[in-house]
């Protein structure tokens, strides 16, 4: 359900010049559009006072101080950005050192944001970097309000969805100050992507949720009864054997003792079933959902993102509209295109999402459907009727969860009319999805 992107381009041109004054330089825009090479004015380090001022005045939030974050801080600082903030909730681990070049062995255990900020300030003259050792979800509105631009180097889909939904939620087209572009990078092995999201103007992260493959989920009956792969044995160890042995202690995937225990019990189970291939490395990979990461790919994607930040803020050239995919496994291949907005996007769309289901479907089954649909993927949704405002199911607080729980086993026909609008929220995401559920005849 693609929207007319020209319409949004026009909207963008009307609003953004107020936000980023330099974009009003229409002549620069048209010149760069027609021929990149005609104007010789390239902002080498600090070429013109105008560019220097724009970079100086722009307060940028870098989200994540990991593989991409370290690169982003370096690239942005050397591009002339002088007021950088970085937020990360993690501490440094030995396995970060193969790519997170601002950290040394002696830094292991320290907060990433703090060490990265100090390193950049020390190395790049004139760069101010303020660290925040915190979770993005815990920061208040006035924290985010101070930035003009957010650049994300995250490793989890969940955190990206949160950041995206938050920034889109704050954006008010009538008030340009609230529109904060989000530049987002991501990598996996030799591949990655960079994109520019202008909230409510371009497509957002949620619009393209189905692009990203979901984490492998093994059916519980396979894990419990008919394991065939080493992964099944490892999942058994972590979701069945561990809670059995340590009912009061959740698995800590960063604790080597816990991992060792999981590995040992997975190995025993594998041996019992004649399954080969359980190793410590695989155990770690499965329980921590490890995504391979290398220095070079992070360098490429972060540089592409910082390059977009520079273009966006100085308007020396038009910024990326809006998606670049990079593949390095087979030669070098990039695909740059405008990803379309989805009219029924739960975050930035204005239209309801329509769903047709069998009338005998229970509310619990509808919840499963919401979790599994590639374009929805809401793992802990609460539902209420838009018309009557009656809660159908609430995840929290516990009393209300208990009171609405009986609805889960009821067929939808008992809870709503066909074609009724349901409001779906999720306690892990600032999302508000309007869902119209119709019953199939």
């Amino acid at each position: 359900m693609a929207l007319d992107s020209a319409k949004y381009q026009a909207l963008y041109r009307a609003i953004l010049p107020q936000r980023f004054p330099s974009i009003a330089m229409a002549d620069v825009l048209s010149a760069t559009e027609n021929s990149a090479a005609t104007d010789g004015a390239v902002p080498t380090a600090a070429d013109t006072d105008e560019i220097r001022r724009l970079l100086h005045d722009c307060k940028v939030l870098v989200v994540g101080a990991g593989g991409l974050g370290c690169e982003l801080l370096k690239d942005l600082a050397l591009s002339g950005f002088q007021d950088l903030h970085v937020i990360d909730m993690d501490t440094i681990d030995v396995s970060n050192l193969n790519r997170q070049f601002l950290f040394r062995l002696s830094d292991v255990g320290k907060p990433k944001a703090v060490v990265a900020a100090a390193f950049i300030e020390n190395r790049v003259q004139g760069a101010k970097v303020t660290p925040h050792y915190a979770k993005i979800q815990d920061m208040a509105d006035d924290f985010y309000a101070q930035f003009q631009l957010v650049v994300c180097g995250l490793d989890s889909v969940e955190a990206r969805r949160w950041m995206n939904a938050y920034l889109v939620g704050q954006a008010d087209l009538a008030n340009p100050d609230t529109i904060k572009p989000m530049i987002d990078g991501g990598t996996e092995g030799f591949n990655g992507q960079a994109r520019v999201i202008i909230p409510k103007i371009t497509s957002c992260y949620e619009c393209s949720l189905d692009l990203f493959k979901k984490q492998m989920v093994y059916p519980i009956c396979t894990i419990a009864n008919t394991p065939r792969l080493p992964e099944h044995c490892i999942e058994w160890a972590s979701v069945i054997a561990w809670p059995d042995h340590f009912p009061d202690q959740p698995v800590d995937t960063d604790n080597p003792k816990h991992l060792r225990w999981l590995y040992t019990s997975a190995s025993k189970r594998a041996e019992q079933f004649g399954i080969r291939g359980v190793t410590y490395t695989l155990t770690q990979g499965v329980v921590k959902n490890i995504i391979p990461a290398i220095a070079s790919t992070n360098a490429i994607i972060a540089a592409a993102c910082a390059n977009e930040a520079l273009k966006l803020v100085t308007s020396c050239h038009l910024h990326l509209d809006n998606y670049m995919m990079y593949t390095g496994t087979e030669g070098v291949y990039t695909y740059t295109y405008a990803y379309s907005r989805r009219a029924d996007c739960p975050v930035c769309g204005q239209e309801s999402k329509h769903l047709t289901v069998a009338p005998q479907l229970t509310l619990a089954e509808l919840l499963d459907l919401l979790a599994e649909s590639p374009d929805i993927q809401l793992a802990s949704p609460s539902l209420r009727s838009a018309h009557t405002n009656r809660s159908l199911y609430l995840q929290a607080p516990p009393q209300l969860e208990q009171r609405t729980r009986p609805n889960l086993s009821k067929p939808l026909t008992e809870l709503m009319e066909s074609g009724e609008e349901i409001i779906v929220t999720d306690r892990r995401l600032p999302i508000y999805l309007s869902l119209v559920v119709s019953f199939s005849p």
């Binding site: 010789g40 030995v94 050192l97 220095a295 910082a306 070098v332």
Partner: protein, 514 residues
């Protein structure tokens, strides 16, 4: 320091044997530019064996805004030493060496030292010095990667005479041999009764067995046909769908879903056949000191010759499928054992060849034989072209010439030719454009002569920005070059063949085989 911990996130890609190759490699960087320093950063972090930086400049104030591996306090010190010192901090296992000499003439003055490296990276190199360097590397079969940036634009050229690969990591479907089941698989499949009454047993027949069974049933009806068409596969698919007893039979669902994809003819890929036909394989015995790769390739070719179906060794792995544990493990073992038999045969060919060649038995390690067998369908060789031949070639690219990134490629050819630091005059640009047009075939050059502005403005741009580096472009190009170096060193994944333009204005890249 536990290396498996430190390198965990990359070992998951190129495994311990890829890492061993990386740790045995030495990279030589000519010119400690921003882009060059970024390349080395991305190689020191994953633990390349060692690097050498050849550079005779002092750190200049202009380096500060471009290169992360120099500081204000170090202005005036020798750039090779400063960058080496900062890079070595990133990984204490990496050997780093600074050589304070003219990087442009190093190939002539110190050829021996240069050739002691596994790979050479030359950055922002003027043409006059690039050609002798490229010729030396080509002659000695050492990989050379050239990387230049100008403003928002980047250019990469990989020069490798011959690059050999087994582990391309190309997405390959599992090698199941459903069209020509080996005897043990045949017997195993026959041991199932697909019409059995027991619903539990019926729902546990693995999809591979179902596919074999329904294929056989279909063949009984169409005895004369050999190769399956798309329509035939769809027919088999619907036969399977009709045999489902209840919607819970996931094994049938799986078989139907995979029918079209898995019921293909097992063949030796054309690109593998081409490698078998190459003289290094066919005339193995004629070469003086054949590389282990070619001995393995010849052993595989001999294996295919002997194989009753004319096929490559079996890879030996199967995907997960809906069935009980015991059946799956049995099935997995069948494929595994057949693959082991094939490895054994290839091993015999290798030892025979080594005897014939009068080479010691350990010339080809057993692990390499296994890797070759497992990845036989991905066997691949890239034969490169030299930079010298590219310079002398007439480019006939009617349709490409109008493309923006091809013009940028051309503009970088002047950039590399341009050695002076004088102001760029319109005469210089005109002269350079004229030179470039001479490299093109008639129709392309006429086309560009009619509308010279796109090319001349780009030539002006590269000449104008050849001396300064934008850090973002240096980091981007440095990242791509490091990926290429890793691919070349580990012989895993597929390197760029052979030229890339990185366009930071449009956020695109384009590769060219020149």
């Amino acid at each position: 320091m536990d290396k498996t911990q430190r390198y965990d996130r990359q070992l998951r890609l190129w495994k311990a044997h890829g890492q061993a190759r990386l740790e045995a490699a030495r990279v030589c960087l000519l010119q400690a530019t921003a882009v060059g320093s970024e390349v080395l950063k991305n190689l020191v972090l994953p633990g390349v064996g060692g690097f050498t930086i050849v550079d005779d400049q002092a750190v200049a104030p202009s380096d500060l805004g471009q290169n992360f591996f120099v500081t204000t306090q170090e202005v005036g010190q020798l750039r090779a030493r400063v960058v080496t010192r900062h890079l070595k901090e990133l990984n204490e296992d990496v050997q780093g060496q600074a050589v304070v000499e003219d990087p442009f003439t190093f190939a002539q003055t110190n050829a021996e030292a240069l050739l002691a490296h596994s790979i050479v990276v030359a950055t922002n190199f003027p043409c006059a010095h690039l050609l002798p360097l490229a010729a030396l590397c080509w002659e000695h079969r050492i990989a050379l990667v050239v990387a230049n940036t100008a403003g928002f634009m980047g250019y990469i050229r990989v020069q490798v005479p011959e690059h050999t690969m087994f582990e391309t990591h190309s997405n390959q479907s599992h090698d199941l041999r459903l069209d020509c089941p080996f005897p043990a698989l045949h017997t195993f499949a026959d041991s199932f009764n697909v019409d059995c009454q027991d619903s539990m047993a019926h729902g546990n027949i693995p999809s591979i067995v179902l596919l074999l069974h329904f294929l056989k049933r279909w063949r009984d009806k169409h005895p004369t046909q050999t190769a399956l068409t798309y329509k035939d596969k769809k027919e088999i698919k619907s036969m399977i769908e009709q045999a489902v007893r209840n919607p819970n039979e996931e094994n049938f669902e799986e078989a139907a879903q995979n029918a079209v994809q898995t019921l293909h003819k097992t063949e030796t890929p054309d690109q593998v056949k081409r490698v078998f036909e190459h003289r290094s394989c066919k005339n193995l015995h004629a070469s003086l000191n054949p590389a282990p790769f070619w001995i393995l390739t010849r052993a595989l070719a001999d294996f295919v010759q002997e194989d009753p179906n004319g096929l490559l060794p079996l890879a030996g792995s199967i995907p997960d499928m809906k069935t009980d544990t015991q059946t799956f493990v049995q099935l997995q073992a069948l494929y595994f054992e057949k693959a082991e038999e094939d490895v054994c045969k290839v091993r015999h060919h290798v030892s025979r060849l080594l005897t014939e060649l009068d080479l010691p038995p350990n010339t080809v390690p057993d692990d390499d034989i296994r890797l070759a067998c497992k990845n036989a369908v991905n066997l691949r060789v890239q034969w490169g072209t030299s930079i010298a031949s590219e310079r002398n070639k007439t480019l006939a690219t009617d349709d490409l010439a109008v493309e923006d990134n091809f013009l940028w490629y051309l503009a970088f050819q002047t950039h590399t030719l341009y050695t002076g630091r004088d102001p760029v005059t319109s005469e210089t640009v005109e002269h350079e454009v004229e030179q470039l047009l001479g490299k093109l075939d008639n129709s392309t050059s006429q086309q560009l002569r009619a509308h010279p502005e796109p090319l001349s403005s780009r030539v002006h741009y590269t000449l104008n920005h050849g001396d300064t580096e934008l850090h973002n472009l240096a980091a981007w190009v440095g990242g791509v070059v490091a990926q290429e170096v890793v691919k070349l060193i580990t012989h895993q994944y597929v390197p760029l063949a052979n030229t890339l333009v990185v366009n930071g204005v449009d956020s695109t890249t384009q590769s060219f085989s020149l």
